[in-house]
Structures are given as structure tokens and as C-alpha cells.
């Protein structure tokens, strides 16, 4: 049973337009959410995160929105650039049982974003 769902396996967006990647989760204990970007033959790289006490976090062209009541988050990329073409993973974690720090993340299956010139 997937606790983090990315229902769009792929998304094609024209360069310069907005890319919106969606993610849904089922575990109400999740309190921290992250987006990772992955190029072929490389490991995932951290992009942006959001704590459950916030509903928006912005970093340059990247904004993550969190709707806790709907258990939904989205990543907006504006404007989209060719270098943004990659697989984007949504990930979530629950409060640490060890009293601090990061626990294992639960990942979605990823969305392959293709930016067309």
C-alpha cells in the first residue's frame, strides 16, 4: 500500500511555462515533506522541503505548497528551464522516534518532467 503517491508518471511542459508536480499521501503522521530531483545514473538530490506547520515554502524558481487537510502537496517550477528535465520524487517522513534528526523517508514512484524547447 503506497503511502506516498505520485499519480503522473510523466509530465511535459513547454520551456518558460509553469511546471506543477503533484503528490498525495495517506499517512497522517507524516510531518515533513521533501522533493528530490534525479538525473539518470545519479543519486537523488535534495530540492526543497516543507514542514507540516507551514503551507508554503519558496526557494527561487521552486515553490512547494502543502494542503494538510487534503493530504496533498505540489511543487511549482516557474519558469521551467531545459535543465529541469529530470525525475522528481516526493518524499515524506514521520516524527523521529529517536528524538531528533531524520528518519527514513517514504518516497513516491516519481514523475518524469520533460521540458520542451
Amino acid at each position: 500500500d503506497q503511502q506516498v503517491k505520485q499519480n503522473s508518471p510523466s509530465l511535459s511542459v513547454q520551456e518558460g511555462r509553469i511546471s506543477i508536480l503533484n503528490c498525495d499521501y495517506t499517512n497522517s503522521m507524516f510531518d515533513y515533506f521533501l522533493w528530490y530531483k534525479k538525473y539518470p545514473a545519479e543519486g537523488p538530490t535534495f530540492l526543497i522541503s516543507i514542514s507540516s506547520i507551514k503551507d508554503k515554502n519558496e526557494d527561487g524558481r521552486f515553490t512547494v505548497f502543502l494542503n494538510k487537510s487534503a493530504k496533498h502537496l505540489s511543487l511549482h517550477i516557474v519558469p521551467s528551464q531545459p535543465g529541469d528535465s529530470a525525475v522528481y520524487f516526493c518524499a515524506a517522513s514521520a516524527p523521529s522516534y529517536s528524538g531528533g534528526g531524520a528518519d527514513g523517508l517514504t518516497f513516491g514512484k516519481g514523475t518524469h518532467l520533460i521540458i520542451q524547447p
Partner: protein, 115 residues
């Protein structure tokens, strides 16, 4: 090095062979994670270390999988008697132990192919 380093990058093993995958985390990072990523899937959590202590191994798929981090830095994931279903990319990640959640930094992974 500046990032998480994994070796080897690629490993082909014959079914039944034992393999050992190495992870060098970012210097000073207390937390270390192993993930398994099958083709077309997201990474799936295998195990978690805080320094040398293995605090969570709930994701290890069978007792053929064993991980260690004896000195709290380098970690090794060992798979005994490999099976074809073990074929995947194995990712290692490390992070600071901070007051809240912090992002984990991933290595490039080891692609294991069992033939």
C-alpha cells in the same frame, strides 16, 4: 570527499553469490540510510544507522541482507546468496542529526544486476 560516495558503481553477480556494497557518508554526518530502488519505482527504505547503532532495519527484505557501520562512518550493505529479485540500485544517504528533520544527501548508488 564533499559528497556521499558509493562503490562499486556497478556490480554483476551470479545468482547465489555474496556481494558487499560500500558507502562513505559525508564527513561528520551522524545518520546513514540505505535504500533500494527497483526499476521504475521510488527508493524504498532498508535500514538506518545513528553513528554505529542500527536503529531501524525494518526495511531489509530478508535475512540475506545485512548492514553494518562499525565505527560510525563507512557502512557496508551485504547481500548473501543473491537472487534475481535483488537486482536494483542501492542508494546510501547521510544527514546531520539536527533539532528537526533535515534533508538526506544521497550517493550515486550501486546498480546490482543478478544473473
Amino acid at each position: 570527499g564533499a559528497g556521499v560516495s558509493q562503490s562499486p558503481r556497478y556490480k554483476v553477480a551470479k545468482r547465489g553469490q555474496d556481494v558487499a556494497l560500500r558507502c562513505d557518508p559525508i564527513s561528520g554526518h551522524v545518520s546513514l540510510f540505505w535504500y533500494q530502488q527497483a526499476l521504475g519505482q521510488g527508493p524504498e527504505f532498508l535500514t538506518y544507522f545513528q553513528n554505529e547503532a542500527q536503529l531501524d532495519k525494518s526495511g531489509l527484505p530478508s535475512d540475506r541482507f545485512f548492514a553494518e557501520r562499525p565505527e560510525g562512518s563507512v557502512s557496508t550493505l551485504k547481500i548473501q546468496r543473491t537472487q534475481q529479485e535483488d537486482s536494483a540500485v542501492y542508494l546510501c544517504a547521510s544527514s546531520d542529526l539536527g533539532p528537526g528533520n533535515t534533508e538526506a544527501f544521497f550517493g550515486q548508488g550501486t546498480r546490482l544486476t543478478v544473473v
